[in-house]
């Protein structure tokens, strides 16, 4: 294909601006989701075929600024500068023009071709916000298109605009700072203009004045004089303004955007409380907010688990027939049995993915799209802070109750590496749906439902204490919560389904390889007849310290694959499902506690490995094994006083 017909565009914008909706609309099923080289940040790319053009679309992470505060911002900035896209489409939330424009101003400073997609204009209209688009276009000298992405409105107009502008020289108006800053920029540009910079000169000058680490380091190697000059100018600026120079510049940008907003936006506010305000009050007020949260989350878990148990049971009977067929036709010899264990691993993954994770994600994304998830972060921030992380971490915990794998993956929403890691470690301690099977199937059924619920409370207390300890041990300041509180809006089904599909795919791809390999290995050990030796080797721990039957050594090894296997294998080895004949209440509780904490399952370990490296993943496993054994042993001794 000739280069004439190939176009590269980039979507940039803040979170909640409807960026993913635009991306999904444009690229449909031609998407590819991977990671940025060497980073754990998602890279979403897609292709659009339109009027004989092949348009590659890249969705940058949702960010608020182009500084070097977070990895996402650095990645976005570097991509725009070095990959030279034909056009950057800046998606803007029209109900939030002022804040969005601060980012737009920074984009324009990069001197790349920008088209503004002012999105959600239907919501703006509802809120009584009128935007003078022509004037906005005039002030920024960049094309402005109105869109309602959830209905696909205006999106083809953007692409038409992209094609129209292709190859044309852009002349956006770069916004001017105050006199002092402009004079500094001019002096620095003068020093820099003869160097062959890969960046726009004016932008480098601004970044030097903002004391941007990356750019300062870059300029030091090229022109030490410019860096020195920048130092003098900064000192001067800070003396005049009494503030850090970076803040002075950011302040000016912020003021410019509020000036532009004042000139282009008219608000005819209707004084009566909107539905959104009422709903917001109901769900975030001290008096009713927590009640609503418990109801909504309780309803979510209840419906997911009841649906999950139903579908899982159905699949189970189907898969059992397949196993019978396999044994009948392929025999039960070593190789055949090993082959079945590989098949079984895949089936087990399906049995978790569809009955539990799928509905879980659907409801979660529904709540997110509706605007409720941010409210949970708001309500839980205080409690989360005690564990050294902020309110957004709560979301990972909630997901972790369904399955630890997506729970650990969702830790990416945390801003700093430290908090990402703390949250992930804590999520591995959250009792997932497989652990619930053990807790309710063993303790709940035979010891009493209150004991089972008590174990849940116990787990929460353990997580809380573990959070307190890990936030002390891992150095670094906790990051404060800064989060946009979106308005409630009617959920958009297509967006929810796309997100669910992406997440489900990711779960399967990350988990499958390790689950299959370890499934085959453990089955091979079992078939080779080494299990009794292993269980007697482990008996000092299992029998002497924990007071459990020796057989549990084998169960705990199988449990690494999937925790509910502990219960399944128990039934298989003992030849009975009435566990009260073979285990005392005390043993059941001890076994449940070990199962809860002793190790994340292989699928979770593979996520930890991928996100944090094998050293940290192994460290978590070793620590948790030691901790679970210690804890369960102590509880076992304490239970002597009860039973």
């Amino acid at each position: 294909m000739s280069d004439e017909k190939k176009i590269n565009i980039v979507l940039a914008g803040q979170g909640n601006s409807g960026k993913s909706t635009v991306f999904n609309y444009l690229t449909g099923l031609h998407q590819h989701i991977g990671n940025w080289a060497g980073k754990t940040i998602e890279k979403r790319e897609g292709t659009l075929f339109y009027k004989d053009y092949t348009i590659d679309v890249l969705d940058l992470p949702g960010i608020y600024s182009l500084t070097t505060y977070s990895e996402e911002e650095v990645i976005s900035r570097e991509h725009i500068i070095h990959q030279n896209p034909d056009c950057v489409i800046n998606i803007i939330d029209s109900t939030n023009l002022e804040r969005s424009l601060i980012f737009t101003l920074q984009l324009l400073e990069l001197e790349c071709p920008v088209i503004l997609a002012v999105n959600m204009t239907d919501l703006a209209k509802k809120k009584g916000i009128t935007i003078n688009f022509k004037k906005l276009q005039g002030i920024l000298n960049a094309p402005v298109v109105q869109t309602v992405a959830s209905r696909g409105r205006g999106l083809t107009r953007i692409i038409d605009k992209v094609i129209e502008l292709k190859g044309e020289k852009t002349g956006h108006k770069v916004h001017r700072y105050g006199k002092e800053i402009e004079s500094c920029i001019r002096q620095l540009s003068e020093l820099l203009k003869d160097f062959d910079l890969p960046y726009p000169v004016r932008w480098v000058a601004i970044k030097l004045l903002e004391k941007d680490n990356d750019i300062s380091r870059f300029v030091r190697g090229m022109s030490p004089e410019a860096l020195e000059k920048a130092g003098q100018l900064i000192e001067n600026l800070e003396e005049i303004h009494g503030h850090d120079s970076a803040v002075v510049i950011a302040d000016e940008r912020s003021h410019t955007s509020s000036r532009i907003t004042r000139e282009t936006v008219k608000i005819t506010s209707n004084r009566k409380l909107s539905i959104n305000d009422r709903l917001d009050a109901l769900t975030t007020q001290k008096s009713t907010g927590y009640l609503f949260m418990i109801l909504i989350l309780g309803g979510m878990f209840l419906s997911v688990f009841s649906f999950g148990n139903w579908l899982s049971g159905l699949l189970d009977s189907v898969f059992r027939e397949w196993h019978a067929w396999w044994n009948l036709n392929l025999g039960t010899a070593f190789l055949s049995a090993l082959g079945w264990s590989a098949v079984e691993s895949v089936l087990a993954l399906i049995q978790i993915a569809f009955p539990y994770i799928l509905p879980f994600y659907v409801i979660l994304y529904l709540l997110e799209d509706w605007g409720y998830i941010a409210r949970i972060s708001f309500l839980m921030d205080r409690l989360m802070h005690k564990m050294g992380i902020h309110g957004k971490g709560c979301i990972s915990f909630i997901i972790g109750f369904g399955c630890n794998v997506p729970g650990c993956l969702s830790c990416r929403i945390m801003e700093s590496k430290r908090e990402r890691f703390i949250t992930a470690v804590l999520v591995t301690l959250v009792p997932c749906s497989a652990v619930s099977v053990i807790v309710f199937g063993l303790v709940g059924k035979y010891v009493g439902i209150w004991w089972a619920l008590g174990l849940y409370l116990f787990a929460l207390a353990v997580i809380f204490i573990a959070g307190k300890i890990s936030s002390r041990l891992l150095l670094g300041e906790p990051v404060e919560l800064i989060m946009a509180m979106p308005d409630y809006k009617s959920p958009h089904l297509k967006t929810i389904l796309y997100q669910t599909w992406d997440s489900l795919k990711e779960f399967v791809f990350i988990a499958a390889p390790i689950v299959i390999i370890s499934g085959v290995v453990i089955q091979a050990i079992n078939l080779a007849g080494w299990m009794p030796a292993i269980s007697s080797f482990m008996s000092p721990v299992t029998v002497t310290w924990l007071g459990l039957p020796a057989i549990t050594g084998i169960l705990l090894i199988f449990g690494i694959l999937r925790k509910e296997l502990i219960l399944v294998m128990l039934a298989a080895y003992l030849g009975t499902t009435s566990f009260s004949d073979v285990l005392t209440s005390q043993q059941m509780i001890t076994l449940a506690i070990v199962s809860m904490f002793y190790i994340p399952c292989v699928a979770t370990i593979s996520v930890l490995w991928k996100e944090y490296g094998w050293k940290k993943a192994m460290a978590i496993c070793v620590l948790e094994i030691g901790f679970a054994i210690l804890l369960a042993g102590i509880v076992n001794r304490l239970l002597n006083f009860v039973f």
Binding site: R99, E210, L379, E480, L481, M485
Partner: protein, 81 residues
């Protein structure tokens, strides 16, 4: 208790109060971060809601809502309008 010197900070305000930001008493990173979000000296903020104990504060800035952690909100000095 939350007063720094003789100023009022965002967390001292009651639900529904509107105020003008005088200064942000944080480090450079924090101040810049907030400025990128449109929160800087001279900005008008309205406290929508505070949570139990020392939880985060929900504010309205330039017509849209933000949630700020307590520690952060207590570093924003304001003057009641």
């Amino acid at each position: 208790m939350n007063n720094r010197g003789n100023g009022t900070c965002l967390t001292d305000l009651e639900d529904g109060h509107t105020a003008i930001i005088i200064s942000v008493m944080g480090g450079k990173m924090l101040t810049k971060r907030l400025a990128d979000l449109g929160i800087t000296s001279g900005t008008v903020v309205k406290v929508i809601r505070k949570t139990l104990f020392s939880g985060p504060v929900q504010v309205e800035v330039a017509g849209s809502r933000l949630v700020l952690g307590w520690g952060l909100a207590s570093k924003i000095m304001v003057e009641l309008k």
